[in-house]
């Protein structure tokens, strides 16, 4: 190696030290960054912009005669929840004669692509636009652009860092986490050791759910480890296998952000020959199937559910607004709670794991979408 330990190395070292110093400085800034929220609700965390304001769409001049072209900027189709959410929207739009065209774009998890998608929808001249922001801050300018272009602008699925839209429908992810965390605290009697399975590192939803859960867990509970597992069964199970080995006999509970991870965590305990510890879940059918089937064995859980039909709710608000009605500017969607008592109402034993139970789609439509075996025709189709 013909490398000279000259000025070059000195420069490198100096640069490296300066980077370290800067990263420390950046961390300070991060801690300040979280201060912009206020706690309006002991369980929730709502943007401070939140008001009871109404939007008078007629006065805003965005109302127009049908038939309409409605654009949807969807952030991602990365899991069955998001696919079902879009499927519900398509089903609802298909039944509405006033909707001429529904243009759905998919940013494939890429904020920059979503900005470009929204630009395209505005340029295409849609009458209303439904946006699931991939980033509250990053998408805000695009939301403003749509709003300023005189397009009915409806945001749902996440909040957005602006007030220039006609309506927002939003389910508090902090609250989602808080519910699971508080339930777990109750199960453990306020103390014990847990591990946390998070969604995807770097995603706002994932971070908020964890923060909410930690708030809900309270002081007495010791968090042994946190690991992102992408709401994915295989990743969740693999992480749990490691934790079971790393903390033998010490894990009293698991906080899982839901998706298929909860089921993966339970299966890891079962595979190790252990009884599952308390794990909260979500309205993911795979988890519900295990839960409902093991209720009699004493298994208990809780499932705050992010509704897949919020897209339909957003579409309804958009239609109201296009018709010139006055709509609520801010709507918080409650997480319907799945409990030991009502889990049987949600579970679909005849359907695959990917189904999301909290749906406005008819059981038949779900059967068709997921090819369930529940109805007569479907079973026949399968056997043919």
């Amino acid at each position: 190696m013909s490398f000279k330990p000259s000025a070059f190395r000195v420069l490198l070292t100096a640069l490296f030290i300066s980077l370290l110093a800067l990263s420390v400085a950046a961390q300070d800034a991060e801690e300040e960054a979280t201060e912009e929220y206020s706690y309006l609700n002991p369980m929730g965390r709502v943007p401070e912009l939140w008001t009871d304001e109404q939007t008078d769409c007629a006065a805003a001049g965005v109302a127009r005669e049908g038939p309409w072209t409605i654009g949807v900027s969807n952030f991602s189709l990365g899991n069955s929840w998001r696919v079902q959410m879009i499927a519900e929207l398509e089903a609802a739009a298909a039944g509405n004669p006033d909707i001429e065209e529904l243009i759905i774009t998919n940013a494939d998890g890429n904020v920059a692509k979503q900005i470009s998608d929204i630009d395209d929808l505005i340029a295409r001249g849609v009458d209303a636009i439904l946006i699931t922001p991939g980033s509250p801050e990053g998408i805000a300018p695009s939301v403003e652009d749509a709003y300023n272009a005189g397009i009915v602008t409806i945001v749902f699925n996440d909040f957005v860092d602006t007030d220039q839209f006609h309506s927002i429908l939003w389910a508090d992810q902090f609250k989602f986490g808080y519910i699971g965390g508080a339930w777990l605290r109750e199960q453990l009697g306020g103390q014990g050791n847990i591990v946390i399975l998070e969604g995807i590192a770097g995603m706002g939803v994932s971070d908020l759910r964890s923060e909410g859960a930690i708030a809900g867990l309270g002081e007495g509970i010791n968090i042994l480890a946190r690991q992102p597992a992408g709401w994915d069964y295989a990743q969740g199970k693999a992480a749990m296998e490691d934790f079971i080995a790393a903390y033998p006999g010490q894990i009293d509970g698991v906080y899982s952000q839901g998706g298929a991870m909860s089921q993966g965590a339970i299966d890891a305990f079962l595979a190790a020959g252990l009884d599952p510890v308390p794990v909260p879940g979500e309205g993911y059918n795979g988890f519900l199937k295990y839960w409902a089937a093991n209720l009699e064995n004493g298994f208990s859980s809780i499932g705050p559910d992010e509704p897949t039909w919020q897209s339909v709710a957003a579409l309804e608000v958009a239609i109201d607004c296009l018709n010139g009605e006055t709509v609520a500017k801010w709507t918080e969607l409650e997480h319907p709670l799945i409990t030991d008592e009502n889990v049987h109402e949600y579970v679909r034993f005849d359907c695959p794991d990917g189904v999301w139970s909290n749906t406005l789609m008819s059981p038949e439509a779900i059967t068709e979408m997921y090819d369930c075996e529940g109805t007569g025709e479907a079973t026949e189709e399968a056997s043919s």
């Binding site: 693999a238 080995a245 790393a246």
Partner: protein
């Protein structure tokens, strides 16, 4: 002068110790195990080690195919999406029962085979660089998985496949048995068959191989077919592990399989490599991921350490190759 001669004789001594690349990674696996043991004795629990081995098995099987392709001087980025496509197809066709198992297996292996065939033909006939072909194929397969399922994976994996993914034969996880058997077969094919010899020759010098009568195109196509088939098998095993169809099952596994092969001593410039080394590479990565989770490092630090160790592993290989 004396200091220099001491240094050079020390270097000579080191050079004489130089080991085959495949051995280095197995030594690294051993060192990692010792390190893990010193941190926590429970890492050495047999059940945990077997779990790690099972986690490694799908990656190891993917790495077999990747190794074949890398030996030709190519690369396969599409294998990750073969895993996903096989997963959703298997779940849809099986619908949770073993009745259609035979046909499903054939179709899934067919997907792997056809993908490999398409990759290989595009690379050899149209001379499109392997990175581009397999990247494009990745996108096409992804679209196919979405179109096939309409975005909503249907059906369920059957008991027989679940046994492959999660079951045990005696104390050994079934998946590990598949991995070991496939690795052994692939190693024998590489070292002891005409095809294996031709694979190394084509990767080392394609032109000279053609001029020696080696059907280079056919050999390259076959390497991609092997990679496609291995991806299909890994997809079936992972399906058994996940129990259901998901559109994310293959995510990131292409780069992981390349990393496993490369830290196992396979060169990205073609002509050298071994499946035994790649098996060590897969095990090393699985152990590393597990160990970092095991000691409860924050995820962000885990990523930094992963990056560092990957760089060090590659550095060690380069050193050892330069020495020999």
């Amino acid at each position: 002068m004396t200091a220099k001669s001491v240094q050079s004789s020390a270097r000579r001594a080191l050079l004489q110790l130089s080991l085959p690349p495949a051995a280095i990674i197995w030594i690294a696996v051993g060192l990692l195990l010792l390190l893990a043991r010193s941190v926590s004795a429970s890492f050495w629990e047999l059940s945990h080690l077997l779990n790690v081995a099972r986690q490694a098995s799908a990656l190891g099987i993917l790495a077999i195919g990747q190794t074949y392709v890398l030996i030709t001087g190519g690369i396969d980025l599409s294998n990750a999406m073969v895993v996903t496509l096989v997963n959703v197809v298997a779940a849809t066709l099986l619908r949770g029962s073993d009745e259609t198992l035979g046909g499903t297996l054939l179709i899934c292996l067919g997907i792997g085979l056809l993908t490999g065939l398409a990759n290989g033909l595009l690379i050899t006939r149209l001379k499109v660089p392997p990175l581009v072909v397999t990247l494009g194929m990745f996108s096409i397969l992804r679209g196919a998985a979405y179109v096939y399922t309409d975005g909503a994976p249907r059906g369920d994996i059957s008991p027989a496949l679940e046994f492959v993914g999660t079951g045990f034969v005696g104390p050994i996880p079934t998946a590990v048995i598949f991995w070991v058997v496939l690795t052994a077969l692939a190693a024998v094919a590489l070292q002891k068959t005409v095809f294996g010899r031709q694979l190394y020759a084509v990767g080392g010098n394609e032109k000279a191989s053609r001029l020696s009568g080696v059907p280079a195109d056919r050999v390259i196509v076959l390497a991609y077919v092997v990679s496609g088939l291995m991806a299909a098998i890994a997809g079936l095993i992972l399906s058994g592990y996940a129990g259901t169809g998901t559109l994310t099952l293959g995510d990131g596994r292409n780069l992981d399989s390349i990393a496993a092969a490369v830290v196992g001593g396979t060169s990205l410039s073609g002509g050298s490599g071994s499946v035994i080394g790649s098996a060590g590479g897969a095990l090393f990565l699985a152990l590393l991921f597990s160990f970092l989770r095991f000691i409860g490092l924050p995820y962000t630090i885990q990523l930094m350490v992963q990056g560092l160790i990957l760089a060090v592993a590659v550095y060690l290989h380069v050193r050892s190759q330069r020495a020999s």
